[in-house]
Structures are given as structure tokens and as C-alpha cells.
């Protein structure tokens, strides 16, 4: 536990001092919020109904924040660290792969939660958009999403022998997820075949569940099936990320 705590604190300091991490974790989501609310703010044209259609855009930015903090940020940093040999050195300590993967995921969770708080504040202050939903349910979804996509980031970094390959794959997965999950375009735009593919993506489950909270104000129980599928995906991804962690 002491080793995990120290690894986590060390990772937080590293992230705090990294300009790249700060950009992708905070400035990028905020910029996406401003851009998307300015361009897609009124989603009524896409057949979306509800109290405030702009909440769907905010939901999309939440999911983008979780995915960029999980997949993109973690793959980029980890692949570079694998190549430089930082983790090879750590392997010779008494840290194990659980300490490292959980420490990295906790760091990303903190960063993602702070990023989402910033997005929420930005939406309220700049656009007067106020999300619905149960705070703890949303927090739980952010936790599951963060662990899921951080696991995906770790898996990509582990499976690729070169940082450039890892970043290219992370980019491809990230872009497919944000375009097909409904985070940037309402799914009502999709043809039937694409909607079927979209519905299999973890980002789609996350988007739908957060949307059900922020937009419709539903409880998790009302969407228990989707919640269980997302949780199962999270557990499987976490297991694979720990199992495949290879230190270099």
C-alpha cells in the first residue's frame, strides 16, 4: 500500500509539472467545450428533445475528456517512458504491476475528474448550461470510464514496440470512438448499419449512460443493463492491462 501511495503521489507530481499533460487534460477539453457548444450547441435540428439540448454536447465533452485522459494521454506518456527505460528501472524495485497500473489509473482518474469539473464550470459560466443527474452516479460513471479507457491506453502502450506506433493506434481508436459514440455527432445522423456498429463501442455505452444522467436525469437502475455491460468491459480491460504490463 505504501509503495502504491508513493508511486501515485510521484505520478501526480510528474503530471502537474508536465505542460503536455496539463494541455491535454484541461485546456483541450475546455477548448472542445467552447468549440462544440458554439458549433453544435442547438441539437434540436438533429431531432434531440429535452430540457436543454446543449446538455448533449456537454455529455459529449465529458466522454471526450475521459477518453483523451485515458487513452490518449496515457498511451503517449507510457510509450515514451517504456522506450526511455524508466519502467525497466522501476521493475528492479519491489513495485509490482498492480502498483504501477493502479497508480497510473488513479492519477488519470484525478486528472479526468478535475478536467470534468473544469468543463462543468466552463459550461455553467460561459454558456449557462447546468447538468442534471445524480452527482454520485455521474462520479461512478466517470470512475468506470476512466479505468476502462486508462486500461485501453496501457494495453496499447504495452502491445506496441515503438512509441510512434502506439500513438498512431491510440489516435485511431480515439477518433473512431469520439465520432461513433455520439460524443461529437448525434447518433440520429448515423445510417442503421453504422448505428449498430456504434452501439458496440465502450464509448457509446459510456456516452449513453452519462447522457441518461445529465440530459434525462434517469437513475442508473433504469439503465442497469448498459451499466453492467460497461462495468464488464471495464473489468476485462483492467485485467488485460495488468496481465499484459511488460515494463518496457
Amino acid at each position: 500500500m505504501r509503495q502504491l501511495a508513493n508511486f501515485f503521489i510521484m505520478q501526480c507530481i510528474i503530471a502537474y509539472r508536465s505542460k503536455t499533460a496539463l494541455f491535454w487534460s484541461f485546456l483541450y477539453p475546455l477548448a472542445m467545450l467552447v468549440l462544440m457548444l458554439s458549433v453544435f450547441g442547438d441539437a434540436k435540428g438533429a431531432g434531440v428533445t429535452g430540457d436543454d439540448p446543449r446538455l448533449m454536447t456537454v455529455t459529449g465533452v465529458f466522454v471526450i475528456t475521459i477518453m483523451s485522459g485515458g487513452i490518449f494521454a496515457l498511451t503517449t506518456v507510457l510509450a515514451a517512458d517504456f522506450q526511455s527505460g524508466v519502467y525497466k528501472r522501476l521493475k528492479v524495485t519491489d513495485l509490482n504491476r498492480f502498483h504501477v497500473t493502479i497508480g497510473l489509473m488513479l492519477r488519470q482518474l484525478i486528472i479526468i475528474v478535475l478536467g470534468i469539473m473544469l468543463v462543468t464550470a466552463g459550461a455553467a459560466v460561459l454558456f449557462s448550461v447546468y447538468p442534471n443527474g445524480n452527482f454520485f452516479s455521474v462520479l461512478l460513471l466517470i470512475f468506470i470510464g476512466s479505468v476502462l479507457f486508462s486500461s485501453v491506453g496501457i494495453i496499447i502502450a504495452n502491445l506496441c514496440s515503438r512509441p510512434q506506433t502506439a500513438i498512431a493506434i491510440a489516435n485511431a481508436i480515439f477518433l473512431i470512438m469520439i465520432f461513433l459514440s455520439g460524443s461529437t455527432f448525434p447518433k440520429t445522423f448515423f445510417p442503421d448499419w453504422l448505428a449498430v456498429i456504434s452501439q458496440t463501442l465502450p464509448a457509446s455505452y459510456l456516452f449513453d449512460l452519462i447522457e441518461s444522467q445529465l440530459f434525462y436525469g434517469e437513475s442508473l437502475l433504469e439503465n442497469s443493463q448498459d451499466f453492467l455491460v460497461l462495468s464488464a468491459m471495464c473489468l476485462i480491460a483492467f485485467g488485460i492491462s495488468v496481465k499484459t504490463f511488460k515494463w518496457e
Binding site: 508513493n6 510521484m10 508536465s18 525497466k88 522501476l90 528492479v92 524495485t93
Partner: protein, 300 residues
Amino acid sequence: MSIISISGLVKRYGKIPALKGISFDVRHGEIFALLGPNGSGKTTTLEILMGLRSFNEGEIRYFDAAGQQKVGLKIGPVFQTPVYYDNLTVRELIKYYSQFYDTPSNHVDKYFDLVNLLDKLDCQYKDLSGGQKQQLSILLSLVNDPDILFFDEPSNALDPQIRLKIWDIIRTLKSEGKTIIFTTHYIEEAEALADRVSILSKGEILVTDNPENIIKLYNDSFKVEFTLEQPVDVESFEQFGVVGMSFFDGVYSFSVDSINGRLMQIVKDMSEKLSISKITIGKSSLEDVFVRLTGEKAAS
């Protein structure tokens, strides 16, 4: 008394053999060098001993000071290129790396005098020079009070002054009872530091002994080196009764068992027929043995 005993170690990368059944043992409190050219298997051996790589065949056994077999040892690693997080300070690196062990130790403070880092404690790692990074790396290898230290080419690419500093640190650690295994392709480094040396080539150990014995065993002779104003073919020296003449980088060299009348006659005959510009006669070194055994010129 051995601290590590390695027998029949085989490592293959796919179908390519990196280690072909090497065997050696390292004794408590000694400095042991793995000397060899690039690609000879030094780093692979070290990384297997550190637990960073698996091996295909063979056995590695660890022993405590009383000779009892142990499951593993506390190890302190120093890699060829120091690898730490760029934006952590020296103080933070020491603090966190100390806490990554099951039994954290604060005894590293006593080594601060050994390395010149006291005024760099609040500097970020990226702002340190290459020599300071390597000294920090050595300091961090001591945070868990290790039984054995593994140094992979510790003075590689460092300037001579820093290299001597690193040698001093290694000698001090030995004087405190630490066992040290290091790899190097610098022959003078092995000769200056090591109690015993294994010379590796192409995944095989050619010889293991102390440097003096290796020289005695393989080349207890004198080496004659000279340059000519007009270079000639090495085979033409047979007319003077010289066998085994070599030519490298403008310098001719051959070995003789002792300085006697025959050598003097050879030198006299050569100087009559050739224009010798410079000649030196000296005792053979570990480098001569290394070149003879591996067939490769040493790094300098």
C-alpha cells in the same frame, strides 16, 4: 564464498543465440567485470541476473554470506543510460525510489559525500549533466541497501574526469563490503577496477580469472610496437624471423617471450633494412589478451 553461481546459462532471442551456456561465479565483496565487445552478451547476462530477462537454459543460484542458498538477493542496478523521470528533483527521486522497496532504508544519506550532488538536491533530473545523472543513478542503486550492485557500462560516454570519479565511487563501495558486477568494453576499466574478469565474445566466456593471471596465462610476454616511414606488407617480416606480426592504425606489433639477444638482433636487422621512426617495448596488457582472444580491437 560465492554470492551468485551461474551455470550453463543459455539465452536465445528467437533463433539467435545470445548466450551459449556461460558459467561463472561471483564472490562476496569482490568487483567482478564482464568484459567484451559490443554484442558479446554482457548486458543480456547482467539483465538476466537482475531479473529483467528470462533465460532458456541453465541455473542461477544465490547465496548469503554464510554460504546458505537464498531465493533472491537485494539488488542495486545502474543502467548504461540513466533512466529517471525528467521533471522530478534529485530529492524527490531519492525519496520516492527509497519507498518503492519492501524494506525502505534511509542509510543512503551516508553516500552523499561520495557523489557531488548535495548542491543539486532541488534540481530537476533533466537539468543535471551526464556525469551527475550517472552519480545519481549510483546513489539510487543504494537506497535499498543492496547485497549486490549491477553496473552496466557505468562510465560509458562520460568524460575522463567523471570516469575516474565513478571508479573512485566503485572502489569505495567495495571497501564497504559491497559486491559489484559491472560490464564494460573499456579494458583499462576492467584492469583498474576488477578483482576478477570474465572475457565474453559472441555469447561465450573465453576466460575468467583475475587480470594478472589472465595476462600470465595467455600472454606473459613482451610487446614490441613500431611505426615505419614507408609501410611494408606484414608477411615481409618473416625474413627477420618474426611470426605473428600485426598491423593496426599505422602501428606494427609483435610479441616475444623475453627480452634477449634474439630480439635485439631482430630489431637491429629491421633497422638496417627499414626506416623505423618509433619503437617501444613493453609488458603485455589485458588489452593484448583481449585482442588475441576476441580478435577485436578494444575501445579506448
